[in-house]
């Protein structure tokens, strides 16, 4: 794998995470439990879609096959997506959406923090922009996990169920392969495995405050970030997200 191929894959991973999770949270638009949450989720989705434009825009330039961010977002099939499985998991109830958000935000904020020092100036500047927004996402999702976890009997039970359901998808964010090794060697991005300790400490702190128990089993579902095998949920998501561009290629708003 050439350095250029590895960088392209790395950029797809970053952009697909924000694209797919951004689309997932936008599914709440208009139907969230209360207006304030509806607006908060839509604004978070908007930040993610904006960050996606930067990551996939750069990915297209690195690939050099005349694909822009829109082309990459709307004309690839499920097996070409490189997001972690966590991002494509269904919304479930509001608690599950917020838990998924927190588990991702915690990784995202730590990872972007390291990318600020990337040897690739384009990566560093996108991280600089995104990390300010993500600090805000994390503050909100962590606060909401605590409020619901340490809330009523009902909200506590739902948050614990969400954590039990989603925790097996956490491990994939810390796997590393040849792409990561190349990025680490070039000083472009850290080896994700090196961030696990910091992540665990952050998650443990928030879960303790939320009175929730972190599952002991570290089994990790994988196959998203390397495209080996996505869950059945991604195809359904893409079907909705991509249909217009697939039905009417290059349609303009």
């Amino acid at each position: 794998m050439t350095r250029q191929d590895a960088l392209f894959q790395f950029l797809l991973r970053m952009g697909d995470n924000t694209l797919i999770l951004g689309h997932r949270i936008s599914e709440w638009c208009g139907i969230a439990p209360v207006l304030e949450e509806d607006i908060a989720l839509a604004n978070t989705a908007l930040d993610f879609i904006g960050q996606t434009q930067f990551w996939l825009g750069y990915a297209g330039e690195v690939e050099g096959k005349d694909q822009d961010a829109d082309r990459l977002a709307f004309h690839r099939d499920a097996w070409d997506f490189r997001n972690v499985l966590l991002c494509e998991m269904p919304n479930g109830d509001f608690g599950q959406t917020i838990m998924r958000q927190f588990l991702f935000d915690a990784w995202h904020s730590i990872f972007l923090g390291r990318l600020l020092k990337s040897s690739d100036p384009r990566v560093a500047e996108i991280a600089e922009k995104a990390s300010k927004e993500v600090a805000y996402h994390l503050e909100r999702s962590a606060g909401t996990v605590v409020a619901l976890g340490d809330g009523t009997e009902e909200s506590h039970a739902r948050m614990q169920a969400a954590l039990d359901y989603l925790y097996p998808y956490v491990g994939e964010m810390f796997l590393s392969d040849e792409v990561d090794q190349q990025m680490a060697e070039a000083g472009i991005a850290p080896d994700p495995a090196t961030l696990r300790e910091e992540y665990d400490a952050l998650v443990a702190r928030v879960m303790a405050e939320a009175t929730l128990n972190i599952p002991e089993n570290r089994y990790a579902h994988k196959g998203g970030r390397d495209g080996y095998m996505h869950t059945e949920h991604l195809g359904h998501l893409l079907c909705e997200m991509q249909w217009l561009q697939r039905a009417y290629p290059d349609a303009k708003w």
Binding site: E36, E37, I39, A40, N43, T44, A45, L46, D47, F48, I49, G50, Q51, Q53, F54, P121, A124, E125, I126, E128, K129, A130, K132, E133, Y136, E139, R140
Partner: protein, 153 residues
Amino acid sequence: MTQASVEQIWQWLDAVPDPEIPVISLVDLGIIRDVAWDDETLIVTVTPTYSGCPATSVINLDIETALRDHGIDNLQLKRQLSPAWTTDWLSERGRARLEEYGIAPPQPAGGPDRCPHCGSKNVTRVSQFGSTPCKAHWRCQDCLEPFDYFKCI
């Protein structure tokens, strides 16, 4: 034709309102990072407020329209991500106008220091997000009016 001076162009841009908060100009908002002539081409460097802010494309269009109206045909808009936009770049005039308009200006403490309607310090947060990506939703406990707070980033 003689080229308009850079100072003149800054003044023209200062007359272009923010599309979502029209009481402040794009210059007040601090998103115009540079104005410079490169030979015959004017290069205006703009930084986005938030990555996904839907106003970004409208802002670019407004800049282009305003400058073309002043006779500038060779125009290039350059996007700059770093240094990332911060509310520290809001002008003093911009901050005052926001408050007059009913939007509490950003504070380093992370929340408004007073209600923009009655001046009371007795305010509470309703939501970390608001009507646009750059705002949060607060309420005054004295006059009971809700208001937008311009998030500090």
